[in-house]
């Protein structure tokens, strides 16, 4: 068990390293931005997939919605770059959350595999609609405005923006999981029928969980559209086969249902993926596939899940009666 002081020091070191990274390795700034985006992907997927037990393959939908909403504001508003970007991001979040609320109230009546299959359709539908809609550029996509700063500043800006987004989602989720919301979605995961029988507002909690997820994903989408500079409906915005699948894999790799699992999973996944691209070009997909198989076979509970089974005391899972440590539950 780590003490509070040790914990604070560890957090401070990690934070300092994360803040310094783009300055120390400016050539990797875009990679670092992608790394934080992956962390955000895994964290937001885990709200539903890990903590609530609802596997969603359609979360990429909100990312795409955010990307387009932000880009349309930037294209049509006539404001200067940063103002338009800020307004676009705000609108992206609003539309993303609204979409999750509407879709959720309809789709979250489905359970288990049925929900998973329905969400699979959602991501694909998003891509198809976007590539047929002229207002947002249809199949030829949408270009985002040029970043006004000097060379290198753009990469730096997005590296820090995604860092802020990832840390913000981490903090918000840590707080939410510690309180009533976290307990409710865990209860839904463990036994939804029981939760209903106890009078829990299950549909409301499920919908809000998806809205939280959509909020951060649509912000990430808005930022990613600008970082990449071009929004392709199928390869960027509604990239189900890449981003959409990765967010699931990263959360499972790190250990779903934990707060640090998705973070660790995303980091390992992104780094190994980049290494495969660099050193195993031509075989990178094979190597990635092999990695996924190894993960599922040897770490079915994910890295943190495996650690938790072996060293439960690190997770406050004090099973023995005498050593039960006083913990504060339900307080942020």
């Amino acid at each position: 068990m780590t003490s509070q002081l040790e914990k604070t020091i560890l957090y401070a070191i990690a934070l300092a390293a994360a803040l310094a990274a783009p300055w120390l390795f400016p050539n990797f700034a875009t990679q670092i931005a992608f790394l934080w985006m992956m962390v955000l992907f895994a964290l937001t997927w885990d709200i539903m997939g890990g903590q609530m037990g609802y596997n969603s393959f359609g979360n990429i939908f909100f990312f795409g919605v955010g990307a387009y909403a932000c880009a349309v504001v930037q294209r049509d508003s006539g404001l200067d770059y940063f103002t338009a970007f800020a307004v676009g991001m705000a609108l992206a979040a609003v539309i993303g959350v609204a979409a999750a609320a509407i879709l959720g109230s309809g789709m979250l009546g489905l359970r288990g595999h049925y929900f998973a299959i329905a969400t699979l359709g959602l991501g694909i539908a998003g891509g198809e609609i976007a590539s047929g809609w002229d207002y947002i550029g249809a199949g030829s996509g949408l270009e985002t405005p040029l970043y006004p700063g000097e060379i290198g500043a753009r990469e730096m800006f997005f590296a820090y923006l995604f860092f802020v987004l990832a840390v913000a989602s981490f903090i918000v989720l840590t707080r939410l999981y510690a309180g009533r919301f976290g307990l409710a979605i865990n209860a839904i995961r463990d036994d939804e029928d029981k939760a209903e029988a106890m009078g829990l507002h299950t549909t409301r909690y499920k919908t809000v969980a998806w809205c939280v997820s959509a909020f951060f994903l649509s912000l990430a989408g808005g930022a990613a559209g600008n970082m990449i500079g071009f929004i392709d409906p199928r390869d960027v915005a509604f990239a189900g086969v890449t981003f959409g699948v990765w967010m699931v894999l990263m959360a499972i790799l790190g250990g779903k249902g934990t707060i640090w699992g998705p973070v660790i999973g995303a980091m390992i996944f992104h780094v190994t993926q980049e290494l495969f691209w660099t050193y195993l070009l031509g075989w990178q997909r094979v190597a990635l596939g092999l990695l996924i198989i190894l993960i599922v076979v040897f770490f079915p509970l994910g890295i943190l899940g495996w650690v938790r089974e072996r060293w439960p005391e690190l997770f406050d899972d004090t099973a023995d009666e005498a050593g039960a440590v006083e913990r504060r539950v339900g307080e942020p």
């Binding site: 307990l183 029981k194 106890m198 009078g199 299950t202 539950v329």
Partner: protein, 247 residues
């Protein structure tokens, strides 16, 4: 007979099987009422109908005077009518305290409370009730790691945490060792007397029925055979025949 819960001519069929046939009964406020009957006689089906788990074919179910037969499970639970399950159901991956905290009544909840922390009284109450069922020492254990009997006790404590007006208990003593059963009977009586929760209990153990309830109903083949004081129902020839299968 009027009561907190009134079931009138309730019929529920599954295809050709008549699980409940024209059942009429009442549970008065503050009472402990029992429900007995051989396996497959429709006791759990009756419970499921009452809590809104499935729609009923005919008849009416009134809770505190209001018709509830068209309401859904969580809505009925929020009115203060809660059930426990025969195959004990707890939240296995959460510890006992968390199981308790999430079982608070949900009737008054709005969007804001979803994100707010629990008040200190709630945490205290959870501790008290865990103490009440004798699980306080195990409060930080994952509920799924408790023994079956302990899970039953936890489920009972969770139901109390929900502060219902009427609690339907589906075989609360099944799978609990005989010495613990006395303890449990005592706790059920105290929950009734001290907290004021009306109890409606399905039970196979006749000793428990004799000890616990004031009034008992007997179901067989979906029909209500008899109702009355336990001593009287026990000696009813129709009840004996239903249990022993007289030809």
């Amino acid at each position: 007979m009027t009561g907190l819960l009134e079931v009138e001519s309730l019929t529920k069929t599954f295809g050709g099987v008549v699980a409940n046939d024209n059942v009429t009964l009442a549970v008065p406020e503050g009472a402990i009422v029992g429900l007995i009957g051989p396996n497959g006689s429709g006791k759990t089906t009756l419970f499921n109908s009452i809590v809104g788990y499935h729609p009923v074919d005919h008849g009416s179910i009134r809770f505190d005077g209001a018709e509830i037969s068209a309401l859904r499970v969580p809505e009925i639970a929020r009115l203060g009518l809660v059930r426990t399950f025969q195959q004990t159901r707890i939240y296995g991956q959460m510890d006992c305290v968390r199981n308790m905290l999430i079982s608070v009544p949900h009737a008054e909840e709005d969007l804001w409370t979803m994100f707010s922390p629990y008040p200190a009284e709630t945490t205290e109450r959870a501790g008290e009730l865990l103490e009440f069922v004798g699980l306080y020492e195990k409060r930080y254990m994952r509920a799924g790691e408790l023994s079956f009997g302990q899970q039953k006790l936890l489920e009972f404590a969770m139901a109390l945490m929900n502060a219902p007006r009427l609690l339907l208990l589906d075989e609360p003593t099944a799978g609990i060792n005989p010495t613990l059963i006395n303890d449990l009977i005592d706790r059920l009586k105290r929950a009734n007397a001290e907290i004021g929760i009306t109890l409606f209990v399905i039970e196979h153990n006749m000793r428990v029925i004799m000890d616990l309830v004031e009034h008992v109903y007997c179901l067989a083949h979906g029909e209500l055979l008899a109702g009355g004081a336990p001593q009287q129902v026990r000696q009813d020839p129709r009840v004996i025949e239903a249990y022993l299968g007289g030809q």
